[in-house]
Amino acid sequence: MSRVSSPLLAVVARELQSVVGTPAGWAIAGGAGTAVLTIASLSAPMGYQATAIDLLVLLEVLVPAVGVALGYRAVLQDRLRGEWAIHRAIGVAPRTYVLGLLLGQTTAAGLIIGGSLSVASVVVALRRTRPIAFLASTPAVADPAAMLWLTGLTVAYTGVIAAIVMVLSSLVRGRRGAVLGAVVVVGLLVVGIDAVAIVLPTPLPVLVAMSPGAAYRTLVLTVAVGLTPDAPVGAALLGWFTWLSGATLLSIRRLRTTA
């Protein structure tokens, strides 16, 4: 194993074990799984497409909530306990540490939510009945690909959220600020940025690029469900890339100057 990859993998493994090894991690996983499976059970008779649409509303709230719950203290606590300084002294580069945290947080959140969605797909497969006539106009109703795409896009969205949460965790100075910041971040991601479109008329591609949540909704409705074929998919992907890379670089920059 190379000297570059070994510290990175060590940081990733530590993040994963932090979730698996704590009651809080299991509580978050249990709560998220219960919510997803409850919606999936209720919607399953309507088929894959309807279940994906019903789950979308839940996931727009659940993904930011899980991402914030798992990660809002990750960098902060390491800084307050002096563990980040120990990493620096050992020679771990800020980029290695940030990428390790990001991959670990994304994997943990992705396993929790992606795993729940995978079980939900099985529930739909077992419980779905004949498609209702007005929905049967699109082939996605009976196509399990809708749930597969939903799962893949949702896991990707957890990565974007993890990067944004890491910026919060690296910028705040104390626990109180972290909790307050976590509430603000969830609010902004779920409704705040979308609300701009209500207050200030904003062209759809701009809104989709600005708001990770709007981008997620656009991608699911277009790629997974196939309801909005003309939606600005390119703007959504560009927005995600900008948030992911910008937030990651900001965290690295912050940790370069912090003991």
């Binding site: 932090s18 090894g21 704590t22 306990r81 300084a85 120990i86 002294a89 020679g91």
Partner: protein, 231 residues
């Protein structure tokens, strides 16, 4: 002739709007025990962090003439819950890659924590957590040890054992930089002193030079003498 492990020149440190030192030069010789002393809030921890490359100076330059890993013991160490003592130490060993140094059992033995390997990290007392943090600082067999109050909260017997450990590291050619208020405890192993106080660095040099300058015996006497000079 001494060879430096760390060399800082024209160093200015400002923390919370307060100038801790201005235009100072500090050299840390290889294989010596350097003690940073001063009153509370004089900037000892900030200087340690800057010398270790953990924090950038406000102005000036710090050159590391030896390669990482460095070992660092924070002033108030703590570790992630949900892991055992051995798992946490194993994690830090993995971070050092091929230079992992002594095994976990040997590291725990050196700091008096043999038999605690499977204990949950959150179950250690404050003193034990400090000892464990010292074991983490020794991971990777670092050329430089940066220790912030390593004796704080330890009983006298354990203090003596830590002093013996630091002396052994220095005698192996490792550079040991210690921030401490326990001047009497570190006096037997202190080779070099950096005395902070009064909003600026007061003096830096070999303990012998500091004692000669203040006509005093030992590091505690030199420290008091230097502070009286600037009062």
């Amino acid at each position: 002739m001494t060879v430096d492990a760390i060399s800082a020149s024209a160093l200015t440190l400002v923390r919370g709007g307060r100038v801790l030192c201005s235009g100072c030069d500090v050299s840390v010789p290889v294989g010596k025990c350097v003690v940073i002393v001063g009153p509370n809030g004089s900037g000892k921890t900030t200087l340690l962090e800057v010398l270790g490359g953990l924090r950038d100076p406000t102005a000036g330059r710090v050159d590391h003439l030896v390669d990482p890993p460095f070992g660092y013991l924070p002033q108030r160490p703590g570790f992630r819950r949900g892991f055992s003592v051995a798992e946490t130490l194993g994690y830090y060993r993995r971070l050092t890659g091929s230079r992992a140094g002594p095994p976990v059992s040997r590291l725990l033995e050196r700091v008096g924590l043999s038999g605690r390997a499977e204990d949950p990290i959150g179950g250690l007392s404050g003193g034990m957590t400090r000892l464990f943090a010292l074991a983490v600082a020794l991971v990777g067999d670092p050329a430089v040890l940066l220790l912030d109050e390593p004796m704080s909260g330890l009983d006298p017997q354990m203090r003596d054992s830590i002093i013996a450990l630091l002396a052994a590291e220095r005698d192996r050619g490792r550079t040991v930089i210690v921030v401490t208020h326990a001047l009497e405890a570190v006096d037997p192993i202190a080779d070099w002193g950096v005395v902070m106080g009064g909003g600026a660095m007061v003096q830096a040099g070999s303990v012998a030079d500091l004692m000669a300058r203040t006509a005093s015996e030992g590091l505690p006497g030199a420290y008091r003498g230097l502070l009286e000079e600037t009062a």
